[in-house]
Amino acid sequence: MDLLTVEALERPRDDDEVRAALPGLGPDRALLGGGTFLFSVPQPHLRGLVDLTAAGWTPITAADDGLTVAATATLARLADLDPAAYPQWPALPLLAGCCEALVGSRKVWHVATVGGNVCLALPAGPMTTLAAALDGVATIWDASGRQRRELVEDLVVGTRRTTLVAGEVLRSIHLPATALRGRTALRKASLAPLGRSAVLIAGRRDPDGAFTLAVTAAVPRPAVLRYESLPTPDRFAADVDALGATHGGWYDDPHGTPEWRHAMSRHLAEEIRAELR
């Protein structure tokens, strides 16, 4: 939809121009990723937008230490990455799997960005799930020219809340090779076959036997359970049960009751545990 209060839209063309724009950000001047969220609901508080998509950031960079995904990489880019080209990284099918979990259409994938999905910080944001399950580390630039790194699971702290402060921009997310070498499994619960995720859980089993589980959508902020080896079903179920208390309560919105989300988290987590046994 039209953002009728927006009077200026800047399109920085390189890193320097992006950095130069950061100090001007504030309550009425926001960063624009793909725009698939910002343009989908009224934003009457906004007067200006800084569009990151012309900065020319390389969408996806593969190196020995893993994959670096620019914040402006579209979901379509991520989904189209061919796992067969990276046989050393069995985790790669999780990229397309998490894109499939987005309630937005394939046409949205062409525009929506990985960074935008994470920074929006919706419980059901599947790029958060992806990064949380793969130990993803965010690189963040601030307005004074410094940068910091933070695990994505820590960056998202609640519904529509992150640790980002005014003037900061998420530059990229690094998915380390250590995590990409794991096998993964993904489960989703939704009120409709292709509906918004009420529960979105990704699991990872590393070559050394370590097991990681990222629980999202069911709780307001991502929860990650890490084990040196596969947990017993009972211990695992108890750990999943405890997430409601530790991560802000089982989520309640029109996409499913808290009780059902809790039960589905348990059910689907166990399916993942069994699949990655």
Partner: protein, 898 residues
């Protein structure tokens, strides 16, 4: 520079503009607005061959790109949608066509199709016809010779629709001085407005006027429209000084453009004195009086108790009947069921454009099913004579009952009068979901008893219908909902206790089925329990208990007390029961593997009167044009109901004409004298009868005129496709008879009945609550089917909406009465992935009352779907669903109780 379909677009977009409005502002109206939020796909375009939702796409990013709309897609894609009849209202179609052109490979892959079409919502078709278009199947045929009635003719507008060239309400030339209207809405569920300060708004640049309760007429009216305006309570003001639901309109700001109007709306300062909210319908009759200020002239049953309308009546003795059931060794069952608040959600939101023409007439172009009724009420509100107001519609992008309302036209007309400029108001999708009427949520309790053979001894319902903040359609929905659902069954002892009550929630209104879907959900569920108790097959129970020709239609009053014009013009129920039962036995999809899945079957029956009671009028004319073609003028709006096709087929048949020689124009108060409107499934049976009569009158006139010209008796003259043939090879061509005219009318009485039976097999995952429909069959008694392809589409579309009601859709409110499902991501309309194929059967009946033996068939397929699915879930899991929608979280919870 952007190019659009190969044409340069030199103008610069605004900074915050999306591509959708940038294209539309420059005349590219193939791009539609369904949601403006990236959920529906009606605005899909290709940017350098990449399909995107243009509503989400910053327009500045398209600079230098080649944009393709449906108008620029290769013809072959759209032609497949024409051949398949892959649309009804057609509003989503340009976006479907652009999507199909860009994703041909993915859409050809059965495994990928549902996900690929996720971003394209169709509210009309149920997607089968769209799948046929994608698969290249042809369902329509060009009419060449013989009777056009009974042929699968394509909609006359097809070729324009698929290219995005058919004009909807806000398409076509835009006046240079067009002003825009934005509404300020209430942040309270119930409050008195203590002050409105419009000074700041009026001082803003571009703000032309602000309408508030202080400067608009205070006339009470109802947004619901009926032939008899006294059917609906006059409890609504254009702008009131009391707001009764969160989201009610408080003020209207008119600006030179949407930005000015929106800024002005933000600058209006309103102070409120909150009043007690009444959100619990069960407690409403003992709560604060929401319309306590209204007098008898408002026609509210009991304003002090918040009761809009009530029925408390019966025949026989229900208690005695229940006792008889018990003593005979039969069964008595009962229970309480609840239905959800469901949004009609036509893809084209409510919108209108009003202006004052050079003769001083107020002209309104609007998205309506009832242009004549809107004209009449608008004249009353504006204090004008009827001929001082003209209302018309272009093609309407879906309605489903929601446009049997006067929801926008009053404000645009007043704004046009206030500013002297044409004024447009286009509701946002969020306004549509939060502040336009929904299906009435109902609580229905049923008690039913039967002897061991299944014959009913007692049938009683107790209904509580949530009217919301204004009475609107509540009386009609309550009476209709209780009538055919009860009258379907033979039983000597019946009772209906029903009340529609006010709450301070968004108003309920008209929606496909008009109350029957809610009451039949409960009655058909209870009968399913009864069949189980008695050990009788549920199809057999209906065979034994349903009304037969010769029976009276009795809902809750003896025929002597309640004379009725309802008749058995035909009876297709037995055949429908046989067809559905046989079809259900055939295999469907296999049940999923796994120990937690259970399989069950269920069915439900439904009856509907073919015409609403208390009068429904239509007038039509057919003329011979100078070129020898025929023009049909009728009042009916085309909103995907297919009446433009049906009326052409009826006229062509009566005139022995080829279909392509008949043009139908409708939905203009200047076109004909009278038309009650396109609701109550009357497009075929009422307006179609008027057209048939007009065409027959014209045929007689043509024979008579030709006979006079040839000096022969008119009995010797035969009307053929090109003119009148006399004896001895004499011939008068149609062009020589130009100007000839026939007229026809129908007053909507007597009325017949139509029947529907739906049956499903489902699999239920008791571990997750997921319900999969493995087989879905529907048998419909539509009489003679005028257009088998269109009628099948109406059935499938009704079934899809029934599936939405059964499993997915619910407008939800928070504790303050604010709607929380404000976008289509949160209000789940059925997608391609959600709607299984339904096999449709038609009973072979000929109605004695309808035109060419036809009956109505647009609302009723919806009605039996939810109870059929509920009965199948009950069969599968052993527990009875009692609340719609039967979402996975609720079905899971149900399974925990087993």
């Amino acid at each position: 520079m952007t190019s659009v379909d190969g044409v340069p677009l030199p103008a610069e977009p605004r900074p915050g503009q999306c591509l959708r409005t940038y294209l539309r502002d420059h005349g590219h109206h193939a791009v539609k607005k369904g949601c403006d939020a990236g959920d529906c796909g009606a605005c899909t375009v290709l940017v350098d061959d990449v399909p995107v939702h243009s509503c989400l796409y910053p327009a500045v990013r398209a600079l230098g790109s080649a944009v393709t709309t449906a108008a620029g897609v290769p013809d072959e894609v759209g032609e497949r949608f024409v051949a398949a009849a892959g649309f009804q209202c057609g509003f989503c179609t340009p976006g479907m066509v652009t999507t199909a052109s860009a994703f041909a490979d993915r859409l050809a892959d059965p495994a990928a199709r549902a996900r690929t079409l996720q971003g394209n919502l169709c509210r009309c078709t149920g997607y089968r016809a769209i799948a046929d278009a994608l698969d290249g199947r042809a369902n329509t045929a060009r009419h060449a010779a013989g009777p056009a009635v009974g042929t699968p003719a394509a909609a006359p507008a097809s070729a324009r629709i698929v290219r995005g060239a058919e004009l909807y309400t806000l398409d076509g030339p835009t006046p240079d001085d067009l002003a825009h209207l934005v509404v300020v809405r209430s942040p309270h569920a119930h409050a008195r407005i203590t002050g409105i300060d419009t000074a700041a708004a009026l001082a803003m640049p571009g703000v032309l006027a602000v309408l508030t309760h202080e400067n608009v007429p205070t006339t009470l009216f109802s947004t619901a429209r009926h032939e008899n305006r006294l059917d609906d309570p006059d409890d609504t003001r254009i702008l009131d000084d009391v707001v009764r639901f969160h989201g009610q309109r408080v003020a209207a700001v008119v600006g030179t453009d949407p930005a000015a109007a929106e800024a002005g709306a933000r600058a209006v300062v309103v102070s409120y004195e909150p009043l007690p909210a009444v959100l619990d319908v069960e407690a409403a009759s003992g709560s604060v009086a929401i319309h306590g200020d209204k007098g008898p002239a408002s026609r509210i049953a009991d304003p002090a108790r918040n009761v809009v309308a009530a029925i408390h009546e019966g025949v026989g003795d229900v208690e005695a009947g229940l006792a008889e059931a018990r003593s005979s060794g039969g069964a008595v069952v009962g229970g309480t069921w609840r239905t959800g608040r469901v949004s009609p959600s036509s893809l084209e939101t409510h919108a209108s454009r009003a202006w004052v023409d050079t003769d001083g007439r107020v002209v309104v172009r609007t998205s309506t099913q009832v242009p004549f009724l809107v004209r009449d009420e608008l004249a009353r509100l504006l204090g004008r004579e009827r001929d001082g107001v003209r209302v018309y519609s272009a093609r309407v992008g879906g309605g489903f009952g929601s446009k049997q309302e006067l929801l926008t036209e009053d404000l645009t007309a007043l704004a046009a009068l206030a500013t002297g400029r044409p004024v447009q108001w286009e509701l946002t999708r969020t306004e549509s979901l939060t502040a336009t009427p929904t299906r009435h949520p109902m609580r229905v309790s049923v008690r039913v008893g039967a002897r061991p053979d299944g014959s009913l001894t007692a049938l009683a319902i107790d209904v509580l219908s949530d009217a919301g903040a204004y009475g609107n359609h509540s009386p009609g929905v309550m009476f209709h909902g209780c009538h055919e659902s009860m009258a379907l069954y033979r039983c000597p002892n019946k009772r209906v206790d029903a009340e529609a009550v006010y709450t301070t929630t968004p108003p309920s209104g008209a929606f496909r089925g008009y109350g029957l879907g809610q009451v039949q959900f409960a009655v058909e569920s209870a009968l399913d329990d009864l069949a189980r108790e008695l050990g009788i097959d549920p199809f057999d129970l209906r065979r034994r208990t349903a009304v037969r020709p010769g029976d009276d239609f009795i809902a809750s009053a003896a025929p002597a007390d309640h004379p009725d014009d309802l008749q058995f013009g035909s009876d297709g129920l037995p055949e429908c029961l046989d067809l559905a039962q046989q079809a259900l036995r055939q295999s469907g999809d296999p049940a999923p593997d796994g120990p937690s899945w259970r399989v069950g079957e269920g069915m439900a029956a439904a009856m509907i009167a073919t015409i609403p009671p208390r009068g429904h009028r239509s007038e039509a004319s057919v003329t011979v044009e100078p070129d020898g073609s025929y023009r049909v003028r009728v009042g009916t709006a085309e909103f995907g109901n297919g009446t433009a096709t049906v009326h052409a087929q009826i006229a062509a048949t009566a005139l022995s004409a080829r279909l392509d020689r008949v043009v139908v124009t409708g939905a203009d108060t200047d076109g004909v004298g009278v038309d009650t409107g396109a609701f109550g499934s009357t497009g075929t049976v009422v307006a179609g009868t008027a057209v048939a009569r007009a065409a027959s009158a014209l045929a007689s006139e043509l024979r008579g005129k030709a006979a006079a010209r040839l000096g022969q008796g008119s009995e010797e003259c035969v009307l053929g496709p090109d003119g009148v043939h006399g004896s001895g090879g004499a011939f008068v061509g149609l062009a020589d008879l130009a100007g000839a005219r026939g007229e026809g009318r129908h007053e909507g009485s007597p009325r017949s009945v139509a029947f529907n039976v739906h049956a499903v097999r489902v699999a239920v995952d008791t571990a997750t609550g997921e319900v999969r429909i493995l087989r879905s069959v529907h048998a419909a008694d539509a009489g003679v089917v005028v257009n088998p392809q269109q009628c099948r589409g109406q059935v499938e579309g009704g079934v899809a909406q029934g599936i939405g009601t059964a499993l997915y859709e619910e407008i939800r409110l928070d504790d303050a009465g604010r709607v929380t499902t404000r976008v289509l991501r949160d209000y789940h309309l059925p997608q391609y992935a959600d709607v299984p194929a339904t096999q449709v059967f038609f009973a072979d009946t000929v109605d004695t009352l309808g035109p060419f033996g036809a009956k109505s068939m647009s609302e009723s397929p919806y009605n039996p779907v939810a109870p059929a699915i509920a009965n199948a879930i009950r069969d599968a899991v052993g527990a009875r669903p009692r609340r719609l929608p039967m979402t996975r979280d609720r079905v899971w919870a149900l399974c925990q109780d087993v």
